[in-house]
């Protein structure tokens, strides 16, 4: 059975790489990128993630726009917003665009894995 692929899109590179490393320790195939452009590059390289963990506030293309790009690329990829700048409005907007879930930073790794698994199972 192949490991679930997780793509972390966060301009806080230190956070993304650390989280990717932790997920890999738990048997996931994780990659961390710092923005929408890089993320779309990964998708274009035929590395299709099962779940994308997406930051909301990023320079350039923001989280919701990135969500649109990912959904346009492949609507089946499940996206979880993982952000320190959460708000009800952005959560609702995300939900209406096909967002799977919305989690506030910092998050317990155990809780995060439960959500990732739920998303991956969709």
């Amino acid at each position: 059975m192949t490991a679930r692929r997780i793509l972390i899109v966060d301009d806080e590179v230190d956070f993304g790489t650390t989280l990717a490393e932790r997920l890999e320790l738990r048997g996931y195939a994780a990659k961390a990128v710092s923005g929408a452009q890089e993320a779309m590059g990964v998708l274009a390289d035929n590395w299709r993630p099962d779940v994308v963990l997406l930051d909301l506030m990023m320079p350039g293309v923001d989280g919701l726009a990135t969500l649109d790009l990912i959904k346009q690329h492949d609507p089946k990829i499940q996206v979880i917003i993982l952000t320190g700048h959460g708000s009800t409005e952005s959560g609702i907007l995300g939900m209406q665009r096909g967002l799977f879930d919305y989690i506030m930073k910092p998050v317990d790794i155990g809780d995060l894995i439960v959500r990732i698994n739920e998303a991956g199972a969709q």
């Binding site: 650390t18 932790r22 700048h85 708000s87 910092p106």
Partner: protein
């Protein structure tokens, strides 16, 4: 004294609509006074002018009616006396024309004629024949006057000079006031004139004058040109007493005098009775003393008085009403400004708290992940020398991260309810709680809230605060839609084994279909042009919350009828708890 001045300065009687330097209470009182004075002037000035014109018109009508009435009464009395005299004169003319002096000098013949005349002419006292020498040759009557010499009497000379003569009133040989009607004729055989004379007592005149007694009559009498009363007068003395007229009419004119006696007006009509030495004088009160004019005047005064009172009362009420409305509007504006200021302050604090929490969350997440990775790595190294101590330290670090996270999430919760805390809640209880916030507003707008809540409704699993927000948004929208005077029906019931529903219907104007399609879209609002501007997020947040709790919200509406929101939630079942927790 100085205190009085201070009160006047603090609350002047007139200050227009803007008393900027006054306290609010004094300003509204003064505004009320100013409105009262201005409106009273606007209302009463035209009313007073109309009343003045009405009064003037009334006076003119009364005056004209008084003069016409006096003239008519005088003419009527004159005609009565004139008719009597003409009839008597005609009878005497017939007698003298059809008899000779010798015929009538026969007392028996004269008595026969006298009896005949007396039947037809009331007041006739006696009848006699007087020769040209002034000696009364024949006499029929109650006095002993046969053979009396009238050669010095004025009436005889006048009668001889004219064919027919009516004398002034005099006492004569009988010493009783009377007047005579005498006719003269020339005896062809003797070529001398002789006279037939009829005497009439003055009571006859009084009786005829008494016929003119009307509602406003004061006095009516006869007087001659020399100012001697020819009949009795109620106020000016008995017959033959003196009475002077200031003006006398010529020939058959009737002249009317008007004079004021105290507060009442009097009218005097004077007319000459043709072919007599008499002037008829009639005194009567002005027409205002007549009952019909009295009633008219009373009604006119009552109507005007009521108009003044009604205008004054209306202006009094209106000035207070308008000043009250101004005051209410100002207070509402101040209250909105104060609420807006308060909301802005809270929003600023919220934004600050949210900003701080957001900025801290990111470095906190890095600390948490770094510590977590270290825990992972150390945990894998069984041989690491300080493994336990490291793991303890890292666990403490993670605990500190959790504590900090709790603080930042609370800060965010203050700014906006982000966290969801699921508990078992009873929908009816939440609806009742929410209504306790809105009841006053609804009652103020005369909106009746009719509840049909099913008892023993199954509990649902939801966030208490967010569910409150859901019902608050929907019911508040219903109240805003109705504005005033209407009904809101709230029904709760178990739909089936799996769901419970709440329906909220209003009798507002309804929503058009093209608007209804976008009603849950973010930033879509219909309140843009109204005083209470909407953000366009209320129903989209409601929609998000209901969906997040596994529920469903639907809306149906008909323009002119109203709108219904139906919200359904899954009934809580034991065993589904964990799953729900995870979703939250």
């Amino acid at each position: 004294m100085s205190e009085n001045r201070s009160i006047k300065r603090n609350c002047p009687i007139f200050c227009g609509l803007y008393g900027k330097d006054l306290s609010p209470q004094a300003r509204y009182r003064c505004m009320c006074n100013s409105l009262f004075i201005v409106m009273l002037a606007i209302t009463l000035i035209p009313l007073s002018i109309t009343s003045g014109l009405n009064f003037f018109q009334y006076q003119q009508l009364v005056r004209e009616d008084s003069r016409a009435n006096a003239r008519w009464n005088a003419e009527s009395a004159r005609a009565t006396i004139n008719a009597y005299l003409e009839k008597l004169q005609a009878a005497i003319t017939v007698v003298i024309d059809s008899h000779s002096f010798e015929d009538l000098s026969d007392s028996q013949k004269l008595e026969q004629i006298f009896r005949q005349l007396k039947k037809e002419h009331q007041g006739l006292v006696d009848l006699s024949v007087v020769g040209a020498d002034g000696i009364q040759t024949a006499y029929v009557g109650p006095y002993r006057l046969a053979g009396k010499d009238y050669s010095d009497s004025l009436w005889l000379h006048k009668a001889l000079a004219r064919r027919m003569y009516v004398s002034e009133v005099f006492t004569g040989f009988r010493n009783v006031p009377h007047f005579v009607v005498a006719a003269s004729k020339k005896d062809p055989s003797l070529d001398r004139y002789w006279v037939i004379r009829a005497s009439i007592d003055t009571e006859t005149l009084d009786r005829f004058l008494a016929l003119a007694d009307t509602e406003v009559l004061e006095d009516i009498f006869l007087v001659n040109d020399s100012g001697i009363l020819q009949s009795g007068s109620r106020f000016h003395g008995d017959v033959l007493e003196s009475f002077q007229l200031t003006r006398k009419p010529k020939q058959s004119d009737i002249i009317i005098f008007e004079e004021m006696r105290g507060s009442s007006s009097f009218y005097r009509a004077v007319s000459r009775i043709p072919n007599t030495p008499w002037l008829l004088v009639l005194d009567q009160q002005g027409a205002e003393s007549r009952k019909i004019w009295h009633i008219f005047k009373g009604r006119l005064q009552l109507t005007l008085g009521l108009c003044f009172l009604a205008s004054g009362g209306m202006v009094f009420w209106l000035s207070r009403f308008l000043a009250g409305k101004f005051r209410e509007a100002d207070e509402a504006r101040d209250s909105i400004l104060s609420e807006t200021e308060h909301s802005n302050k809270l929003a600023s604090i919220g934004r600050l708290a949210a900003g701080v929490a957001h900025e801290i969350n990111n470095p906190l997440a890095i600390i948490g992940e770094k510590a977590g990775l270290m825990q992972d790595l150390v945990g894998l190294e069984q041989d690491f020398r300080h493994r336990e101590k490291f793991l303890d330290q890292l666990a403490s670090l993670q605990n500190a991260v959790v504590r900090a996270r709790t603080i930042t999430h609370r800060l965010l919760g203050f700014a906006r309810r982000m966290e969801t805390s699921l508990t078992l809640v009873q929908l009816n209880g939440i609806i009742t709680e929410v209504l306790s916030f809105l009841e006053k507003d609804a009652a103020y707008r005369n909106i009746h809230i009719i509840l049909q809540l099913q008892e023993n409704l199954p509990v649902i699993r939801a966030d208490h605060g967010q569910l409150q927000q859901v019902f608050l948004n929907v019911i508040n929208n219903a109240i805003d839609a109705i504005r005033s005077d209407g009904e809101i029906h709230i029904t709760s019931r178990r739909e089936n084994q799996k769901t419970v529903m709440v329906a909220i219907s209003d009798t507002g104007p309804g929503i058009a279909q093209d608007v209804l399609r976008h009603i849950f879209d973010p930033f879509f609002t219909t309140k843009g042009n109204e005083e209470k501007k909407g953000t366009g997020l209320g129903l989209s947040i409601t929609y998000g919350i209901v969906q997040k709790m596994g529920g469903k919200i639907e809306v149906s509406s008909e323009v002119g009828v109203g709108t219904t929101f139906i919200i359904t939630f899954p009934v809580y079942k034991e065993g589904s708890e964990e799953e729900s927790n995870d979703r939250a």
